[in-house]
Amino acid sequence: MSTRLAKQGRLIDRSKQVTFTFNGTSMQGYEGDTLASALLANDQMMMGRSFKYHRPRGVVASGAEEPNALVGLGQGNRFEPNQRATTTELFNGLTSASQNHWPNLEFDIGAVNKHLSRFLPAGFYYKMFIHPKPFWKHVYEPFIRQSAGLGKAPDKDSRDADTYEHFYAFTDILVIGGGIAGLQAAKAAAQSGAKVMLIEQTAHWGGRAPVDGGTVDGQPVDKFVEQLVSELETMDNVTMRSRCMGAGVYDHGYVLGYERLTDHKPGAQGPRHRLWRIRAKQIVTATGAIERPLSFAGNDVPGVMLASAMRDYVVNWGVTPGDRVIVATNNDDAYRTAIILKQAGVDILRVVDARATAGPLAEEARQLGIRVDPGKAIAKVKGGKRVKKVALCNQDGIGGAREEIECDAVAMSGGWSPVVHMWSHCGGKLLWDEANAHFHPDPERPPLGANGEGFVVAAGAANGAMPLQDVLFDAQTAGEAASNAAGFTPVTADAPKGADVAEAPMEPVWLMPANADIQLRMKSWLDFQNDVKVSDVQLAAREGYESVEHTKRYTTLGMATDQGKLSNINGLAILADALDSEIPKVGTTTFRPPYTPISMASIGGEARGDVFQPIRQTPMHNWHDKNGADWEPVGHWRRTYAYVRPGESVHDAVNREVKNTRENLGLLDASTLGKLIVKGPDAGKFLDMMYTNMMSTLKVGKCRYGLMCSENGFLIDDGVVARIDEDTWLCHTTTGGAERIHGHMEEWLQTEWWDWKVYVANVTEQYAQVAVVGPNARKVLEKLGGMDLSKEALPFMEWRDGKIGDFDCRAYRISFSGELSYELAVPASQGQAFWDALTEAGKEFGVMPYGTECLHILRAEKGFIMIGDETDGTVIPQDLGLHWALSKKKEDYLGKRAHSRTHMADPERWKLVGLETVDGSVIPDGAYAVGEGVNANGQRNMIGRVTSTYYSANLGKGIAMGLIKHGPDRMGEIVEFPGTDGKSYKAKIVDPIFFDKDGEKQNV
């Protein structure tokens, strides 16, 4: 059984007991445990079920590469699925549950797949479930989805209880990985004076070196680490962050650091995760290496574990996964596990070494009385929910002549693969190393930065340097190289001297035994989580899925939550063999960020809830909110759709506002309309290019309605332009148009006509602008007193500066409603006071505020177009009968050339008309008018569409505007608009001005 040892455990504090639960059972661990080590200490060998066959799964690794021991962590608003037990720090009150089984871990219905596995090889679903057709959606797929998936989905109504943030960091050199290589590289780099940042994904410095033993400069490795860390801590050009993983390397030296601040102490103050956006001149990847499993039958039975992981559990956490252990290997390193376990009092029944000869470590093992079998292999591991027996055979054979040994755990080592993810994210290339049978970074082909030079340097095991002494030497070199590349002068120094037992060469073993028969190959796992076996990869190759990408996608090899950290190289080797090719020729799949999964919330950072997106507010925003505003988002602005009174529906409110504005007095908050100052000797010339109409001839004190087109000829904006003085104009834009049109103007001024003397400034928010609209508009303003606003003093389409009450004000006599109307601009800081004054003074005149829907209806009654309703990016002024606004005198303006293209000049284009339903009903939004027959694709022929459609409370019927083929020539004709409600709407084509055709109301 797996148990806690009496001694050992460099990372745990036996004086601090911690209580946690697994599948509802309360268990004990120590501070410093990971969830995995604590579960093993409680003899919880089985920790989950596999993805496809629901086979029992136990922990196989001790770190980020773990594919099996995934749990649902926490509860309610802090529940998180698929959390690796191996990287979860234990804390008091931790609750965890295993995944992918029903009804429970021990007994799982889905495990039936296990027995069907022979009928469910790679890609079986491409070949099955084809007939009968409806079955896929209604029977097959629901079943497959249910048995697939992995972690439990969080509750549909759960709301993350934590907060998250980003941080922008800048450094000369970023070192990723706080093992001895990272620490040494950081020191070497820092000595050049460069600013160095060092990040480590775990809570501890030193990586796995302290477990593997050996000495540095004559002292134990952990002493060396201790000194190095405290040395770095005293250097003020060095920043160190533990629990901070290098998640991804992006172009131009941009790195994501994923810092887990409170995962190990939930509920603590502050954000849960911090996503670092690190800009570094140079990046050192000291990300270590990952041990490879061996492919033998039953290598997925709980209790079969990576040799390095097994000694980690003993040395770091004082836990042994078994009492009677067999070690299988193709290299010397695994002997360290045998020795360490033996010294910890565990029975090592056998070291099965596929090689003929081993190095000094094997001797040391024999000295301790461990039996070493050279040339041997594991034919099969027996046992269901944990290891019971192992059958041994010769490596060079098909797996016959077996010797069976009872045991409860197996340590396996297939050699080591450098972690090259960070090197590869941005295109760093790899080299195949025959001797060590692994890919390592090709220093000749690093990822290239903004200057075209390499910006990543690999160090230590991540660079393929395995023995202790090589690791330190390589790290020193990398640190110096990085500082040099970052523009500093490295202080060259000798690397500390690492000393460790020399190792005999490993021998690649991709299958145990070498010629294992098909029954064994069908039980030899490559990808433990996704249940991909040696036979599956061989099947893919046989069926022609020859590219490594094909094989990956066909078998799902390496697509599990570990992204193939354990399986990729082994699978690649099997594929290469099946294709009778070489591993480097077959190549690897692409490494993509993140290195290990990072929380969605950390990616979003602070942007959630209140600050998910900006909400732009006018100076009167709070008043609207207090007075029943039904909000409408317009860009980032919020505008009042209607002011709904108690007991009113939104629709009622709109109708009330419409009638009141026509009959009495309405107030509209028009502050969101853009206001751009355009000034300079060439301003007139410039505006003549920007607008389709002539602006240079506008007289000071007057206003003109202007249209803007893109170079493509389509309408992009409109608004009233006022001439302020000889060389100054003020241009109104649509709401949300301010930034867009300001940018548009700056673009042409800076990149096309940069010799023109024009300056533009966006003064939109300097003013609170209020439209005072209706028969009583002048009365209320006269009551407030101040400037003369009589018809004579301020005629239609003119503006004046002056005072209204005691407010400094610019008054525009313009109307978007057809009513007597003034748009009044006062300083934003007095907007609310001004609004209050109008509301107060307006009482006797029946004042009511109105919203955007009322505004739309009023303008529609007058046949005024609205950018975004009558236009949609495909409409030109000619379509809307706005020829009058297209200056004939001007040789050029943006869009003019485009208008002469054949399709733009096509008489068949749909043109603006008014529409009146014969029965007074309201045509649905977006309805299309149909003609006769169908087109070549069998679609009903359309002859037009509605662009605006409303119920007019003033006219007591539905009114609409629309674009109709030959519309203006078809006045009086009836066209038909089929609704999606089953009804069909018949409407008469009429003049778009429905109300006060002669404009008498506004000219008073």
């Binding site: 960091a169 600050v611 507010q617 300097q766 934003a828």
Partner: protein, 188 residues
Amino acid sequence: MSEPISALNHASYTGIAKVEECGLQGMITLRGDLSDKVLIKAVKDATGQKVPGQREALIKGDTGVCWMSTDELLVLVPYAEVETKLAVMSNALSGVHALAVNVSDARAVFRIAGANAREVMGKLAPVDLSAEAFQPGQIRRSRLAQVAGAFWMDDDETFRVVCFRSAADYVFKLLKVAAQPGSEVGVY
């Protein structure tokens, strides 16, 4: 005329740094040829400062001038004086091609103060705010999360941030999140 009200009327919050809306600040956007003698003099008369160099901010209290771009300055004057100062400036500049316009009410100004001020800002702006890289006397135009903003330091522990008035509520909420207790980063 009635009492002018700033966007958030001096709202404030204290977490790992103190965040407060500063109230109204007189601001004039001045566009023109920054080497023009008339303009240089106009700036001097209004603020007592020379025309700042690239990304310089020459500010004393509520008076000063910031470099916004190769042809744009932000002139700071006391709010009460902005109209008069603007009139004088416009008058002085009447002969040259320049644009001076009052934007005091179009903006909101925040102060972030305390030992962690740099870190609070470092969570929202993609800018190197280490002491080596950013100091009083400099201005930086960038973004604060999702909106444009400009900021400078009044002293080594105090930032002043300028954003659009309409975004004031968003920026204040952002700063509160960034300054929440327990969120010290520990790098600056």
